[in-house]
């Protein structure tokens, strides 16, 4: 996150919005296209420039070749002029020489025609050439009929036309606008100064030799001749100067060209001097006309040689330039095409790299969404996308690890909770162990263990057998206490993990698992110790529970036995009791005892009566369970009415008021129920307050709401008797425990104890809340339906 100024952000916002909406490949494509447009434009421009340059050079080349093709005429027409002039002036020698040059003239004409055919139209020289050609042909045919002067004049005009044609060639083929100054100087020498110099020399030669031949010279001729001589000097000087410019930067060439140019210039100057001396000062004529002519010809051919050299040089130059320009253009085209191809390739590579990466990422995300590990590993690149991939790899790695961890801990918790559930479903240790083993073995997929295992219990019946089949020492309870940590033993090609589980610091047994490998990863060790703990808890709870249950069963049986014992005993006591009572009665009635003896006897009988009460109580108490009658539907209203009936006398005596709610029909032992209510009401009547009318109400407590049905009938029996301190609320249910002195209230006090036993036999409970001087509330509950009760 690089800090960005708000300004740049706001300025860039539209651009960012635009770019964000494009895919990466599109972004790249956009940038490439934006770069490509000026590139293409520049390349086109450059190519076009090179191409035009090449075309220009080609045009110059064409012009040069045209000029070369027609250059033969420049030599031949002035010769023809001179020879015709000589012949017309009377020298018959020239007739044969004119005839001899005829084939060369025709060939030059044909060459020029060919050049015109080839380049004339292109250089727009067709017209001027045709004019030069037709004038030449006309002059050639009429030359001998003309006067010497006219012929000369017409030849000279034709040559002027011809020079004009050459000038137009250089103009039309852009030779004069050549960029390179050296070449331009060469061209000027080639097409301007040298032809003019040659023509001037030709005129000097022709007119001079004519004047020497007839020996006379007019004033006009004199001026003209003087002008020609100076023109030759000027032109030869120009040739020399331009050649100097042309080869200013090219020393190796300069030497050859400079020599030739100097020679041409000096010969031209020499011939000019000779013309001045021989023609303009007739007083000292030293040479004949033909000799003078030949001297001229020599100078002229030197000029021609130079002309041919420069022409050739120019042609070579142009050819080289054209060649390099063409190769330049080709290189440009190839480079451009290659560049385009490279860019296209990169665009495609970029597009596919992004598309592949995003595709793979999407694939990975799909896998992760389904919760499994991705099959492809994404290799990160070095760019930002690579960074993203790297982060993503980290994230997905983390996710996979977390997922795996989660799944593992889920499995572990599942196994542990399954074990607890199993422990709840079994009440026998061995059966629990047998049921738990397949569960642990089934977990082999994610535990590092093979589906083979055993569970040994120290007190288990089969521990000896199991350990023996695995070829290991069975657990000896005496030594088992030392078996505390898990360890791996090698038994018959298997690595057996012995995982002891401890209860109260003592080994209660061990879990034997065949594991892969020699060691266990730490997290598995942690889990295995958790497993051992869970096992220990389950086993410990199971054994504790079964011990508890056993104790309870023992106690129940013991109570039952005691009850029977008491029942039998109280029955057995009936007979001696009857004996005591009847013999006592007989003694009182049949003897004449008096005083203390009679008192003793009476007290004996009273004691027997008291004993009878006690024995009846004991019988009643022990009979609750000992003489069981089946539970039958019993109308409690009827039961209470019966109880009240029995107590009729006391009720009348005490003027007690008894209110009873309508009561339901329940499954119960009817006789015990009568006994229960009789005891309750009797108790309430017995412990009434002096001077207060006893009011006893029996109400149904909190009638069962729908949904809280628990098969219990709850009753409250309330009185307004003497009450007692709440701290004695439990003592009143104990047999023979009385809160009040024996004299105050009659009875053994076993009544409430029997009530409790009856209520308990009917699945309920009874307790009392009381306040001295206010009254007592007895809360009791009994089963509504016996069938449902046994189902619970």
């Amino acid at each position: 996150m690089s800090p960005q100024s708000p300004f740049s952000t706001s300025l860039l916002a539209p651009g960012i919005r635009l770019v964000q909406n494009l895919k990466f490949a599109e972004k790249f494509l956009l940038v490439c296209l934006l770069l490509l447009i000026p590139l293409i434009y520049a390349s086109y421009y450059l190519l076009d420039d090179v191409h035009q340059h090449a075309q220009e050079k080609q045009l110059e080349m064409d012009g040069l070749q045209y000029a070369v093709q027609v250059s033969a005429l420049l030599e031949l027409i002035p010769q023809h002029r001179g020879m015709t002039n000589g012949l017309l002036r009377g020298d018959e020698n020239f007739r044969a020489r004119i005839a001899a040059m005829q084939p060369a003239l025709e060939k030059a004409l044909a060459d020029a025609d060919a050049a015109d055919q080839r380049w004339g139209a292109e250089l727009q020289l067709h017209e001027p050439w045709q004019q030069v050609r037709s004038r030449w042909l006309r002059l050639h045919d009429n030359a001998r009929q003309l006067s010497a002067d006219t012929s000369w004049q017409q030849h000279t005009d034709l040559i002027a036309d011809y020079l004009d044609l050459v000038f137009r060639i250089t103009v039309n083929s852009s030779l004069y606008t050549e960029d390179d100054p050296a070449t331009r100087h060469m061209i000027e020498v080639n097409f301007h100064y040298l032809p003019q110099l040659i023509e001037a020399l030709g005129q000097l030669r022709g007119s001079g030799s004519g004047m020497i031949a007839d020996g006379k010279i007019t004033m006009e001729e004199h001026h003209e001749f003087t002008r020609l001589i100076s023109a030759v000097s000027v032109l030869s000087h120009e040739v020399q100067r331009n050649m100097g410019f042309a080869f200013e930067r090219s020393w190796p060439l300069r030497t050859a060209f400079a020599d030739s140019a100097n020679q041409t210039a000096s010969q031209a100057d020499g011939y000019a001097a000779l013309a001045q001396a021989q023609v303009l000062q007739p007083a000292v004529p030293a040479i004949s006309a033909p000799l003078y002519f030949d001297h001229g010809t020599e100078a002229i051919s030197s000029g021609y040689r130079l002309l041919k050299m420069t022409t050739e040089h120019n042609r070579e130059n142009f050819e080289r330039d054209i060649k390099s320009l063409n190769s330049h253009r080709n290189t440009l085209v190839v480079t451009f095409m290659l560049g385009m191809l490279m860019i296209g390739y990169l665009i495609m590579a970029f597009y596919f790299s992004i598309r592949n990466t995003t595709g793979i990422l999407k694939n990975v995300v799909d896998h992760l969404q389904h919760g499994d590990a991705p099959q492809e590993v994404v290799l990160p690149g070095r760019d930002e996308l690579g960074k993203i991939v790297q982060l993503f790899n980290q994230l997905s790695g983390q996710l996979i690890r977390t997922n795996t961890e989660l799944r593992r801990s889920h499995h572990e918790d599942q196994l542990l909770s399954d074990l607890s559930l199993l422990a709840l479903q079994h009440d026998n240790l061995n059966r629990f162990a047998q049921a738990a083993l397949p569960l642990i073995v089934a977990a082999a997929e994610w535990l590092p263990c093979k589906p083979a295992g055993q569970i040994n219990l120290v007190r288990g019946d089969n521990s000896r057998y199991v350990a023996a089949t695995l070829g290991m020492e069975p657990i000896n309870p005496a030594t088992a206490t030392h078996l505390t940590g898990m360890r791996i033993e090698r038994v018959a090609q298997n690595n057996i993990l012995r995982l002891p589980f401890m209860i109260g610091g003592e080994c209660a047994g061990e879990l034997l698992l065949a594991i892969m490998g020699e060691t266990l990863p730490p997290e598995k060790q942690i889990f295995l110790s958790r497993l051992a703990n869970a096992f220990a808890i389950a086993v410990g709870r199971l054994s504790a529970e079964s011990a508890l249950q056993q104790r309870e069963v023992d106690l129940l049986r013991s109570n039952e036995e005691l009850e029977r014992f008491a029942y039998i005993s109280s029955h057995d006591m009936q007979e001696p009791l009857r004996k005591i009572q009847s013999f006592g009665d007989r003694l009182i009635s049949s003897t004449k005892l008096e005083g203390r003896s009679l008192d003793f006897l009476q007290r004996m009988v009273a004691a027997a009566g008291r004993m009878q009460e006690l024995i009846e109580d004991l019988l009643m108490y022990s009979r609750v369970n000992a003489s069981q009658r089946p539970f039958v539907p019993t109308d409690l209203n009827q039961v209470v009415a019966e109880a009240c009936n029995t107590l009729e006398l006391q009720i009348e005596e005490t003027r007690a008021k008894i209110h009873i709610d309508p009561l339901p029909v329940i499954d119960a032992d009817k006789i015990q129920m009568v006994q229960l209510f009789q005891n309750l009401i009797g108790n309430a009547l017995k412990y009434r307050r002096e001077g207060v009318t006893p009011i006893i109400t029996i109400t149904v407590d909190e009638p069962n709401k729908p949904g809280t049905e628990d098969n219990m009938l709850r009753l409250i029996c309330q009185d307004n008797g003497i009450g007692f301190e709440q701290q004695y609320a439990e003592q009143i249910f104990e047999a023979f425990k009385r809160l009040h002195g024996r004299g105050e209230y009659s009875g053994s006090g076993i009544g409430l104890s029997v009530c409790r036993r009856i209520v308990e036999r009917h699945g309920g409970a009874i307790y009392a809340t009381s306040e001295p001087g206010v009254g007592t509330r007895m809360h009791l509950s009994v089963w509504l339906s016996h069938k449902n009760a046994s189902a619970i």
């Binding site: 005496a478 104790r551 309870e552 106690l555 013991s558 109570n559 036995e561 005691l562 029977r564 014992f565 008491a566 039998i568 005993s569 057995d572 006591m573 007979e575 001696p576 009791l577 004996k579 005591i580 013999f583 007989r586 003694l587 049949s590 003897t591 004449k592 005892l593 003896s597 003793f600 006897l601 007290r603 004996m604 004691a607 027997a608 004993m611 006690l614 024995i615 004991l618 108490y621 022990s622 098969n711 219990m712 709850r714 104990e734 047999a735 023979f736 425990k737 076993i750 409790r756 209520v759 308990e760 699945g763 309920g764 409970a765 009874i766 307790y767 809360h779 509950s781 089963w783 009760a789």
Partner: protein, 243 residues
């Protein structure tokens, strides 16, 4: 308070309380019994001359009846106490133990009756002396009680160790028990003999059964009518002791 209304209201305290209730009842019963007994004895002493022969007979029979009642109550009390007896193991030298009991309780035997016992002097066994005494005495008493009318009791008591268990064998030459009734000997409600014929009403074996059960042992009976009875008690070595 709500938990009292729970369907399973009989908790263990309440159950074991029952033994206390019974014991308390026995205690209460003892008072009038002792009163009757005492008054009867005083009357017998003071008024023997005043009373007619019939009157004296009445008194005697009253005393006998209270004696019976006392016995019954005492046995009920014993049983209730036995049932809640907390097991207290300690090493018992069997020979010494047997000698003490016999010398205290069976010094004076009926004429002609004999009580022989044998035990290894070095035999020491971890057990509860109270329970052990109950077993020994009840068996001995039974053997002395159920004798043939014409022959005095011949009782043999033997202690031994076999397969890691302590064996007590009590053999008599008494009336024996028909194998048909062997299963019913230990049932409280079953009386093989009339109440008048033998005193004690046959609760003795019930007590033995209880004590043997508390010690985790077994009881075996071999008997036939007129051929005497052999009772064998087999007691395991208690867990955790002697290790």
């Amino acid at each position: 308070m709500d938990k009292i209304f729970h369907p399973i209201a009989m908790d263990r305290k309440e159950l074991s309380d029952m033994h206390l209730q019974i014991r308390r009842m026995c205690h209460d019963l003892n008072a009038p019994i002792r009163a009757i007994h005492g008054f009867a004895e005083i009357l017998q002493r003071r008024e023997a001359d005043q009373l007619s022969e019939r009157g004296n007979m009445y008194l005697q029979r009253m005393v006998a009846a209270t004696h019976t009642m006392e016995q019954i109550v005492s046995r009920l009390h014993q049983y209730a106490r036995l049932a809640t007896h907390p097991l207290k193991l300690k090493p018992v030298s069997v020979a010494q133990f047997t000698e003490e009991i016999i010398s205290v309780h069976y010094r004076h035997l009926p004429v002609g009756a004999s009580l022989q016992w044998q035990a290894d002097q070095s035999l020491v066994w971890p057990s509860d002396p109270v329970l052990l005494e109950t077993i020994l005495r009840e068996l001995a008493e039974n053997a002395l009680l159920y004798t043939k009318a014409e022959a005095p009791a011949q009782v043999n008591i033997a202690w031994s160790i076999e397969q890691g268990r302590l064996l007590l064998t009590v053999r008599d030459e008494g009336i024996g028990i028909d194998p048909e009734y062997h299963q019913r000997v230990f049932d409280l409600f079953e009386r093989l003999h009339g109440r008048d014929q033998f005193a004690g009403a046959g609760t003795g074996l019930t007590m033995v059964l209880k004590a043997v059960g508390l010690l985790g042992g077994t009881i075996a009976l071999a008997s036939a009518v007129d051929l005497g009875t052999t009772v064998q008690i087999s007691l395991p070595k208690p867990d955790g002791a002697g290790a």
